[in-house]
Symmetry: C2
Subunit: 401 residues, 2 copies
C-alpha cells in the first residue's frame, strides 16, 4: 500500500466543498488546508517548532530558488529538504514553472496571477509597467522552447536551462512529499493564440514530467527499493489555459486523464476575482473527483472561502507572511496596519479573542514600536499572528463542511 492517499471524509450539502485528508510519509494534511510559503527552505523568521505550534500542516518551497541556492545536490547530501530545514512534516515543492512567468512577463508587465487589479497582491512591482496586452510572453529575461525554459539566474545572471526532466530531477533531490509537473504559467495579458500554444506545450511537459517521475521510480534493484522509492513522493499535474473557457476545459480533461496523484490549477486567473471563480467553475467539474485539488498562489481570505465552495482542497500563498513583514496583521475585521498612529498607546492585543502567542503577550503599542524601530521581532510576531489566523480560519472552514 502506498504511503500516499487522499480520502474525502465529507462533502457539503450547500456547495461543492469537501473535507478530506491527504496522507503522506511525513504526516497527514487535513483539507481544506492553507499552505504557508517557505521559498528558501524557511518560513520567514519562524522555527519549525513555531510552525507546529501554529497548526501548520505542510509548507510550500520553491524549486527554482533552492536549485540556484544552495543547490539541490547540497540539500540531497544533507538528507533532503526535511532534514536540511529541520521540518518533519509534509512539504510540497513547485516545479520552477511559475518563475517562467514571475521573472519574465510578470516582472516586465507588472502583473500577478490576476491581472493588475490588486496592486498589493502583485508579485513584484515593475516600474516601467505599461499594461499593454502583448501577443506572447516573449521576454528578454526568459527564453521558452519545446525543450524547456532558459533563465538568467536572479542571483548571478548565469544562464540556466530548466526542462521537465531537470525540474523533476531537482524535485526528486529536494525530496518534498508532493511535487509538481513542469509547466508554463502564462500571463493574464497573453492572448488566446499564445495561451493555447503554451498550454499544449505544458501538456507535453506534463507527460515528460510524469515519465521522468515514473522512470526514476522504476530504477529499482529489489522489492525493498521499490517500496521505498514508490512511497517517497507523489506528483501533481497542472492545469493551464488562461482565462479561456475552451482551453481550461481542454486542459482539465487532458491533465485529469493522466495518472497524477493530484491536480493543481495554475496560470492566469483572469482580470478579476469574478474571472477567477468563473475559471474554477469551468475547470473543477471536469477533474477526477477523488484526487486532491490545489489552487496555486492564491490565498486571499475571500478567495479561499469562495474557492473551497467550488471544490478546491489546498492553497499556497505568500500573502500572510509577506504582509506580516510590512506590519499588516490579518483580523476578522480586515487588515490592521500597525504603523498607524492610532495604535501608539494602545494596550490591546491585535485581536482580543485570538489565542496566538503574539496576541497573548503583546500590545499593539509594543508591536507598533517594534515596526517603527525596524526590530526583527516585529515581523516575527506578525508572521506568527497571521499564520495562526490562517490556521484558525481553515479549521473553522473544515468544521463547517
Amino acid at each position: 500500500m502506498s504511503n500516499f492517499d487522499f480520502t474525502i471524509l465529507k462533502t457539503s450539502k450547500k456547495s461543492l466543498a469537501r473535507r478530506g485528508i491527504i496522507r503522506t510519509p511525513h504526516g497527514n494534511i487535513e483539507t481544506p488546508a492553507f499552505i504557508p510559503v517557505g521559498t528558501q527552505a524557511t518560513v520567514k523568521g519562524l522555527t519549525p517548532e513555531e510552525l507546529e505550534s501554529l497548526d501548520v500542516q505542510i509548507i510550500f518551497a520553491n524549486t527554482y530558488h533552492l536549485f540556484l541556492r544552495p543547490g539541490e545536490k547540497i540539500i540531497k547530501d544533507l538528507g533532503g529538504l526535511h532534514q536540511f530545514m529541520h521540518w518533519n512534516h509534509p512539504i510540497i515543492t513547485d516545479s520552477g514553472g511559475f518563475q517562467v512567468f514571475s521573472l519574465g512577463a510578470g516582472l516586465e508587465q507588472g502583473v500577478g496571477k490576476i491581472a493588475s487589479i490588486f496592486p498589493e497582491e502583485r508579485l513584484m512591482q515593475a516600474p516601467n509597467s505599461k499594461f499593454q496586452i502583448p501577443n506572447s510572453t516573449k521576454s528578454n529575461r526568459i527564453k521558452i522552447t519545446e525543450e524547456g525554459v532558459e533563465f538568467k539566474s536572479h542571483i548571478d545572471g548565469k544562464k540556466i536551462l530548466l526542462t521537465p526532466e531537470k525540474s523533476i530531477q531537482i524535485q526528486k533531490d529536494l525530496g518534498a512529499d508532493l511535487i509538481l509537473a513542469f509547466d508554463e504559467c502564462t500571463s493574464p495579458l497573453a492572448d488566446y493564440k499564445y495561451t493555447k500554444k503554451s498550454m499544449e506545450r505544458t501538456h507535453r511537459w506534463a507527460i515528460k514530467s510524469l515519465e521522468t517521475f515514473k522512470n526514476q521510480k522504476s530504477k529499482i534493484k529489489s522489492q525493498n527499493d521499490k517500496l521505498k522509492c514508490k512511497n517517497k513522493q507523489e506528483i501533481y499535474g497542472i492545469i493551464q489555459g488562461g482565462a479561456y473557457k475552451d482551453l481550461r476545459e481542454k486542459s482539465a480533461q487532458f491533465i485529469g486523464k493522466l495518472p497524477f496523484f493530484g491536480m493543481a490549477i495554475g496560470g492566469s486567473l483572469g482580470k478579476s476575482k469574478k474571472d477567477m471563480h468563473q475559471i474554477l467553475d469551468w475547470t473543477l467539474p471536469l477533474l477526477p473527483e477523488k484526487r486532491p485539488r490545489h489552487l496555486l498562489g492564491i490565498g486571499g481570505i475571500e478567495d479561499i472561502i469562495e474557492s473551497i465552495k467550488q471544490g478546491i482542497d489546498t492553497f499556497d500563498c505568500a500573502m500572510p507572511t509577506r504582509i506580516a513583514r510590512t506590519g499588516a496583521f490579518l483580523t476578522k475585521k480586515g487588515r490592521l496596519n500597525i504603523f498607524n498612529s492610532r495604535y501608539q498607546s494602545d494596550k490591546n492585543p491585535i485581536e482580543k479573542e485570538c489565542r496566538c502567542y503574539t496576541c497573548q503577550n503583546y500590545s499593539r503599542a509594543y508591536l507598533r514600536h517594534l515596526f517603527w524601530a525596524k526590530e526583527m521581532l516585529g515581523p516575527r510576531l506578525a508572521t506568527i499572528h497571521n499564520l495562526y489566523f490562517m490556521s484558525r480560519l481553515m479549521k473553522t472552514i473544515r468544521e463547517n463542511i
Copy 2:
C-alpha cells in the same frame, strides 16, 4: 528591608574575582554576569521566553533610544518596560550619557570605548575618520554644557536636551530595576585637560542624578507608597577619568563615597586592552568592596575573563548579538564566519558539544544557506547560539571562582 541587595558569596583565592548575587524586585542575578543588550526594548529577534531558555538573567536597554522612540511616557502608560516588552526579569537602563560620546566624538572620530584598535568593535564606522587627536569632544552634533547635553535626534533631527534630572525622570518612567547616573563618556582621543573638565562635570551630574533619584523617592504620601517607591529601583554611579591615573583614582574615590547602590566603570578605556586592564587596576581597589561593579560596554571573551579577575561583577555588550547578525558565531576556537565556503555542505552543528537550540537542530550548511539567502531565521539562530555561548561561559566562570 529593601528589595535590593548585593551579596558576595565567595571570593577567589587566586585573583580579585568574586561570586555573588544581586537581588532585585524582578529576580536575582548571579554574578559575574553578562548582560545582553536590548537597546529598543527587544533583544534582536528573540522573545523573552527564548532569553529565559538561554539563561539570560537581565537585559540592558538604552534610555536615549527609548526616550526618542516610542517615548518614556508611552512605556510608562503601558505599565513600564517589563510589561511593555513582556520581560519579567531584571532590566538595567543606561542614562543616555554614552550617546553623548557615541553620536558625537565616537561617530566623528570613528572610535569606540577603546581607541581604534579593534575596527570590528567600533560602534559605528565614520567614513571621514582621520584619527587625529582633538583637544576636546566638541562636536557639531552635540553641545555639552553644565546643564546637560543637547542632541539632535538621530530619528528626526529634532533638538533635545538631556540633563541629569531629565535622564533620571526618563529612567523612572521606563521603570528598569537598575538605573545609571547621567554622565559624559569621553573619547579615548580626548586630552587630559578636557577629560578632567568633563569628569568634574560628571561628578556634579552624579550628585544631581542622586538628588533627583532620592527626591522622587521622598514624594510619598503614605508608608505603603514609601515602601513601594523605595523598592522599585536602584541607581549606579559612573566612574570616568579616561586613561589618566590620577583622574581615575579621583573619580573612583568621589563616586565611591556617594550612596549609590552600585558602581559602573564608564568612559574611555585607553588605546589597548592592556590600557583597559591598567585602568581597572587603578580604579577597582578604591571602590567600596561590597557594592556591585559594572563594566560598561565591554564584552569580548578575553576582556570579560581578565576583568572578572580584577573584580568586575557585571558586563553589558552588544557584541554577541551584533556579530550574530553578520553571520559570526562564537565558539571555543574563536569566531566562526558562516559565510565561508568551507561550510557549504557541512553537516556538523556550529559546535558539537553545544546544547543550544541552534546546535541541536541545524547544520552549518543550513545556517550558511540562511545567511546567504538573507533569511531572518539566520540572525535569529546565530543570536540564540551566541547568547547561549555567553551564558555558558559565565556559568563556567562562576563555578570556577
